[in-house]
């Protein structure tokens, strides 16, 4: 093999490598788009434990070293609102005061727990003092996030006093957080479910328009 054939062979190798790079870059970009295009609504992901399921009891330790159990029947009859946040998430900062105000309003039947993950404990400690949430348990635990399939922050999980998962979702605003409490009280997991159950003809027309 020599002359033009050898050259074309070399060129083909280069082209194949470049094309593979391009394919990989394209696939990666699509993946990044999926991560970036965060939904604006209180999106309830289909992944993770389902609403109505009995949550597994998990024993976790908060930043102060107190042991808490998450899930299962609560001895004081309180529901638990877990808000997953992170020092690196800008929206979380604005949502923390909202969660505090909501829980102080609902304080007789609900307790608030913050959760995060990562290994820089001092960063979390600074974050807690920065947001002035030292009064609430702050858990740093990766297994907890994995258990509820938390993929986007800020994410809230509401567990009823009987230990069942009442509602969950990506929360960006006060309305979203309140919708979780509303869904616990009404027993309807989401607006979609309500429409499906009570207004089937409306549901059909929406589906038609959407498709």
């Amino acid at each position: 093999m020599e002359g033009p054939l050898l050259i074309s062979y070399a060129i083909l190798w280069v082209l194949v490598i470049v094309l593979s790079l391009l394919v990989f870059a394209l696939a990666r970009q699509v993946g990044v788009l999926h991560e970036r295009v965060a939904p604006a609504g209180a999106l309830m992901p289909t992944s993770g434990p389902k609403v109505g399921e009995v949550s597994n009891v998990m024993s976790v330790t908060d930043l102060k070293g107190n042991t808490l159990s998450i899930g299962g029947v609560d001895s004081q009859g309180l529901a638990t609102l877990i808000l997953f946040i992170s020092p690196t998430c800008p929206v979380c900062k604005s949502l923390v005061p909202v969660a505090r105000s909501l829980v102080s309003y609902e304080g007789r039947r609900m307790r608030l727990v913050f959760a995060s993950d990562g290994d820089k404990i001092e960063q979390h400690a600074a974050y807690v003092s920065d947001l002035d949430i030292g009064d609430y348990p702050y858990i740093v635990s990766q297994p907890l996030g994995l258990a509820y399939a938390v993929s986007k922050l800020p994410f809230a999980v509401l567990i009823g006093s009987d230990g069942t998962l009442k509602s969950k979702g990506l929360v960006n605003t006060r309305e979203h957080l309140e919708s979780l409490v509303e869904s616990m009280d009404s027993g309807v997991a989401s607006l979609q479910e309500y429409v499906e159950k009570h207004m089937p003809e409306l549901d059909e027309s929406i589906t038609e328009r959407a498709s």
Partner: protein, 181 residues
């Protein structure tokens, strides 16, 4: 009979694959332990030792593939390991627990969660096929400089295409959750 060039490409390809897999597990043992637990296949007392035993097996396989010694044992162990993963994934798909993290990410996608899907089982079966292909006896042929270049280029392309397909499987899983079914 296959050309020794092909055997080398397979060998180095698997070496890179298992380096990625072992690194991913050893760098975040806590996460790997949580993933093992999530599969709900093993008794609790086995989780801790396996968190380190599985990456150790993978590192041994890396050495086996690079050295080209004991090809038979290396290939069979790789195939068995991949088959175990495929079986674990398949069992959890049948159970309907597709939302658990696969823990089988590699390279660029390793840090992210990946839901279970049947494409992952298919991927592993394909990999088992490739691993077993290396058991076919090779023709006796000395490898020169040009072969070395071809091996490196082929391994590079194999890595890129593997990472792309991994990413595409992950994208598909993301799209499936968006549709809500």
């Amino acid at each position: 009979m296959i050309d020794p060039l092909i055997a080398r490409v397979i060998g180095f390809g698997f070496a890179v694959l298992f380096i990625g897999a072992a690194w991913h597990k050893l760098s975040t043992p806590e996460r790997f332990a949580a993933i093992l637990r999530d599969y709900q296949l093993l008794p609790a007392f086995l989780i801790r030792p396996l968190t380190f035993l599985i990456p150790a097996i993978e590192v041994t396989l890396v050495l086996g593939w690079i050295s080209g010694l004991a090809t038979w044992i290396t290939a069979m162990t790789s195939a068995a390991l991949l088959a175990t993963y495929a079986l674990a994934i398949a069992i959890n798909i049948v159970r309907g627990r597709i939302y658990i993290d696969c823990g089988c990410g590699f390279g660029a996608a390793a840090g992210e969660e990946q839901a279970l899907s049947s494409s992952l089982v298919a991927r592993n079966i394909l990999l088992i096929g490739v691993a077993l292909l290396s058991l076919v006896p090779t023709t006796a042929r000395g490898l020169g400089i040009i072969d070395l270049i071809i091996v490196s280029a082929s391994v590079l392309i194999a890595i890129l295409l593997y990472a792309s397909s991994e990413q595409l499987i992950q994208n598909r899983a993301a799209i499936v959750t968006w549709r809500g079914k």
